[in-house]
Amino acid sequence: MSNEAVIQHGAGTHEVHGDHHEGHHHHETFITKYVFSQDHKMIAKQFLITGIIWALIGGAMSVLFRIQLGYPEATLPWLEDIFGHWAKDGRITPEFYYALGTMHGTILVFFVLTAGLTGTFANLLIPFQVGARDMASPFMNMLSYWFFVLSSVIMLSSLFVQTGPASGGWTVYPPLSALGDATQGSKIGMDLWLISMAMFVVSSLLGGVNYISTILNLRTKGMTMTRMPLTVWAILFTALLGLLSFPVLLSGFILLLFDRHLGTSFYLSDIVLAGNILPNEGGSAILYQHLFWFLGHPEVYIIILPTMGLVSEVMSVNARKPVFGYMAMIASMFAIALLAFLVWAHHMFVTGMNPFLGSVFVLLTLLIAVPSAIKVFNWLTTLWRGNLHLTPAMMFCIGFVSMFISGGLTGIWLGNSTLDLHLHDTYFVIGHFHIVMGVSAFMGMFAGIYHWFPKMYGRYMNNTLGYIHFWITMVCAYVIFWPMHYEGFAGMPRRYYDYSNWESFKQFVELNKVISFAAILSFLVQILFVFNFFYSIFKGRKVTTKNPWKSNTLEWTTPINPGHGNWPGEIPEVYRWAYDYGKDGVDHIDQITPIGENESKEGH
């Protein structure tokens, strides 16, 4: 709403102060600059740091339940010291175990890899890369962050209530989640979960509407849609997915809240609870699953698409080559976004769905392999014969592609309903989705953080720590999730508290120890990353040139520490696409350089 004001403010200040640090702005207090900021760069940093805090909490939870899974007989008195009756006698209780798993999923999927990822890079990169002073509505952008904070506070508070947080799995299927008397986790913790997620949907909507409008309406002169970097395309598709799928989740949650508190029967029918026949009739628990997965499936693309964009951009810059198949990349992202809405029921093959309908969803699911494979081959051909600069960001890009291939291939297995009957709800699924959307997305996010850290803070992150971070994360990720596929084949179900009680799964006792060890190690190395992140903000090596990676995109034409408004003076005009690397023997030609007279006609 105050975009005009922002433009004048940003430009005007810089005419006076030149390239000084943003702290030199007039009329800015600590509150307006760091707390209720309307500057897209500050909001991006807020999302990122909030996301990092959530990632630490969610990651620590996985460490706790991996301790239980790897060492089910161990008694660790320090657990009881910290968690009291939740870890009686130094062992995590079953209720605590289920709550940990549920919250780990919720936090990582929504708070880290949706808000923390898209919130960070959409806010940081859209105005920078399309050439805008700020988002279409900086005010709504600020609201988007603060709804996320509100949602975070509510979710965090649910960890501290007497009966504990939601514990019915991150999908919170009714009837378990609808009936407060069913388990401890279905009491107040479940309400807080639902209200928190409703706030999250509002945040996501405010952000998404802003991202799309900015991309469509505020591009600088010459920045046609097909000259935009792939990051912006990826965020556009991500925002569209969120815009159309989150409201359906909200509808599902509203009905669930009604079932919980008003006695309606949307999801409930014919239930006996503790010997009492409940009056609810006529509802359908499967209906909830449809509503949930109508978001739930696009959600995995909401997570992975932005990282695909980040990886495409960072990889092209560090291979010193144009990204291979720019238009094919856009087309395949479009195809993925479209198909994302048509495959949700592949999560429901074993719910008793009509097998014919199941086979339709098999077909549509397997179709996603086509655009995904196009993207993978494009990344590989972008690397092919490139002049690779193996920065930590580039390492994470390559790690991303590796993970995406490994996890994507097992997706083809699970997409077949006949195979899914056997593999459903086993560790095969855990291994598959952690690799393809968990680790992959984190790799892409790390690539983005290492690459754009200099733009965010005017300093570099430490490279040595970056390489250590990469290699240990990479190796641990495979050590953790690869063996899970074997466990899944053997029929080992997910979400069990203690596998050593089962004769069939005793063979995996030692393997589970290995997995837990690797999980703990990889968590420690993430702490190293967080240290590197915060240390580098204050003490990192300073950036001395505007364009440290010799990149073509617009954000590197701004001052090293840009003020609100991004460019001092006029917004630059764009004459070409973002991928003129190595063209006509020139290392790179940025987007604001006009087309030369004798230039060849490749690219755009």
Binding site: L244, V248, S251, F258, T264, G282, G283, S284, L287
Partner: protein, 247 residues
């Protein structure tokens, strides 16, 4: 390609292109698109649950009352009036936007006022209908006795008629599917909440118009954006009307 398109060819010949909108209006369109999916999810949920039942109440029987008309059987008459009021409020909204384009402050005020009146009237009608349904009483065979109950989210008196059983001259029914009340009150309530929000926005627009805010900015685009929302809410009602009253 057999037809050659010259460079700079204008594909749109209908004046200002509908795609050439300001970011503010684009945001409203995107929000409405998103909200379509919210309502779509509700209505599709309603549809799936309804078709899974063998029996569903006949709207001509459920919605046959009219204020001050006693027990006269007037199927869908009242809801038709409600629908007419809401659609007329869309017409007055169009006129408000039109006056805004002409920069006629008093015209905008007048038509915004009528639109607000329409919205309030619609909400009042809905309040009456809800009250009538909840507090109304129909003879129902419940636990082996004839009892008089209203329609709530946990109780539905509009089940199949019990053959040969009457009470004070009224046909006695069994209880109907409880999902009926849940979806009816849930979805019309959610729509009513949208109308209520719309009325608040319209009041805000009226206050801003009176304060001369839009004259100062030089355009009445905010009125137009709220108008988009208002028309959307009307359009949703058409679907709600279709799904609950006509089918």
């Amino acid at each position: 390609m057999s037809t050659h398109v010259p460079a700079g060819f204008k594909w749109w010949s209908g004046g200002k292109s509908p795609y050439n909108v300001s970011y503010g209006k684009l945001m409203m369109w995107l929000f409405l698109l998103s909200d379509t999916f919210t309502f779509g999810a509700f209505l599709i949920s309603y549809g799936t649950v309804r078709v899974s039942h063998d029996y569903w109440p006949d709207p001509n029987y459920v919605f046959n009352a009219f204020p001050f008309m006693g027990h006269a059987n007037l199927p869908l008459a009242f809801v038709s009036l409600m629908t007419f009021i809401l659609i007329m409020s869309s017409v007055t909204m169009v006129l408000a936007v039109h006056e805004g384009h002409k920069r006629n402050k008093y015209g905008v005020q007048k038509w915004l006022g009528w639109t607000i009146l329409g919205g309030v009237l619609f909400l009042s009608c809905q309040a009456w209908e809800w009250t009538h349904m909840i507090t109304g009483s129909s003879p129902v065979l419940l636990d082996g006795q004839v009892q008089y109950i209203g329609s709530t989210i946990t109780m539905n008196p509009y089940g199949p008629v019990v053959q040969g059983l009457t009470d004070h001259g009224h046909a006695v029914t069994q209880t109907g599917p409880v999902a009926f009340g849940g979806f009816f009150f849930g979805i019309t309530g959610f729509h009513g909440f949208h109308v209520f929000s719309g009325v608040l926005l319209l009041v805000l627009a009226l206050v801003w118009t009176r304060m001369g805010r839009f004259e100062k900015v030089g355009h009445y685009e905010m009125v137009e954006k709220i108008g988009l929302y208002w028309h959307f809410v009307d359009l949703v009602w058409v679907f709600v009307f279709l799904c609950f009253y006509l089918i």
